[in-house]
Symmetry: D2
Subunit: 135 residues, 4 copies
């Protein structure tokens, strides 16, 4: 059973564009904030991990569907599940919702990277175990 993580996001002026709605690229930032908060809830310190190990997470692919637009002042919920977990990567399914409406659906693949060498690398064991419990 996939565990759901729900994170609220408020829409501000800086998120919108001249079409009066959230600029399409900015939803990817909302999705990333939700994944970061999920890591925080799991007591995983991204910054410390990156500094100590030179290893970080990199987004490898995003497939995103824009179903309905979000507007200024909207209170959104980002709903995330970890769909699959590999040795070196994670596949997230995420949606952005407002009340009853699903505005955005997305699939995001994130890899663990040796940032110095620019190569994919295995997730550390303890982190892998934490993630494994989310699926």
């Amino acid at each position: 059973m996939h565990k759901k993580f729900v994170w609220p996001i408020r829409v501000y002026f800086g998120d919108t564009d001249a079409g009066g709605v959230v600029y399409h690229a900015n939803y990817l930032e909302f999705l990333e904030r939700a994944r970061s908060e999920w890591l925080r809830v799991l007591n995983f310190d991204q910054r410390k991990f990156m500094q100590e190990t030179g290893v970080g997470f990199a987004v490898r692919s995003v497939a995103i569907e824009y179903l309905k637009p979000a507007r200024l002042d909207d209170e959104l919920r980002v709903i995330s599940t970890l769909k699959s977990l590999g040795r070196a990567q994670m596949l997230f399914t995420q949606s952005i919702e407002r009340g009853e409406d699903v505005l955005i659906t997305a699939t995001v693949r994130v890899a663990c990277m040796d940032l110095v060498r620019g190569k994919a690398t295995a997730l550390p064991t303890d982190i892998h175990e934490k993630f494994a419990k989310l699926i």
Copy 2:
């Protein structure tokens, strides 16, 4: 006596730059979020107001000092006070703090604008009254 409004902001990857710190322009976005939340607390609906009256707020000037950098995952507090209130504009003093440290200080002048004609216009009476109580 000037009323203080305090709003928390978390730093995410999308806020940072290759220097490893928050990109300098993004602090203005943090300041704006805090002002927007202050309006929300006062039951002022910016979007509705803008749609119904064609009047909105526009930033007319910012003077910002960058004292110390904020980093990924930092939890910041934006502290705002309304320093003066005119017929058509407001002057805010804002700071961004982390624990004991003041990272940013700023003075932001915001004007009430007729968005169709692009001209400054008086604040509506009821809103002016709400703001007057904050000083």
Copy 3:
């Protein structure tokens, strides 16, 4: 035969993140700039069109692969082709390249929208004809 449109993009500090590379959401902005410039080359005035007709373009889906990171000061090329053209939507294939390297590949679906009613609408005839010549 699909016509290619090539647009150069320089990477600045504001495009990067604390990982030292371009923040993943910002490539969508690069892709959008290239599509906007393509419209400009075709003498299509997005702003005027939007103001006169209430019709604009909205991104409906993006599938993006992040193959290699772009860094500060990189000079990139966005290469765009129109893959298919419907009555109310366009499918673009885009890549972002640096020298010999392909950094990003993406498929972007853009729909013509009645912005007031929030509904898909047919592309105006003359614009459809311009786009038809690009495939």
Copy 4:
């Protein structure tokens, strides 16, 4: 006599907000692009310099006046002059113009920083010499 550096900037969707104009924080990004391009014209490689010396530039203060708004598709010019040059910092005067109109004026103070220790540090001699010729 202060040398002027002029850099063109096009306004895209991603630069605008729901007010239909460029989001106020984004002008700081336009100003930064112009300063970066000026350094490039002077054959100064920011990224290499940062990597080799651990020294980089940090914005210490900005005072910006928003006179008139820029809109989608506008072609702007950023006009920069170096107003004063210290041992460890530079003061720029910048404006953003469209045709005959001055939209933005700004004063930006940039310091040379040891990024590891987070302290101001002297500009390297050869760079100081290059900058000295611009005033």
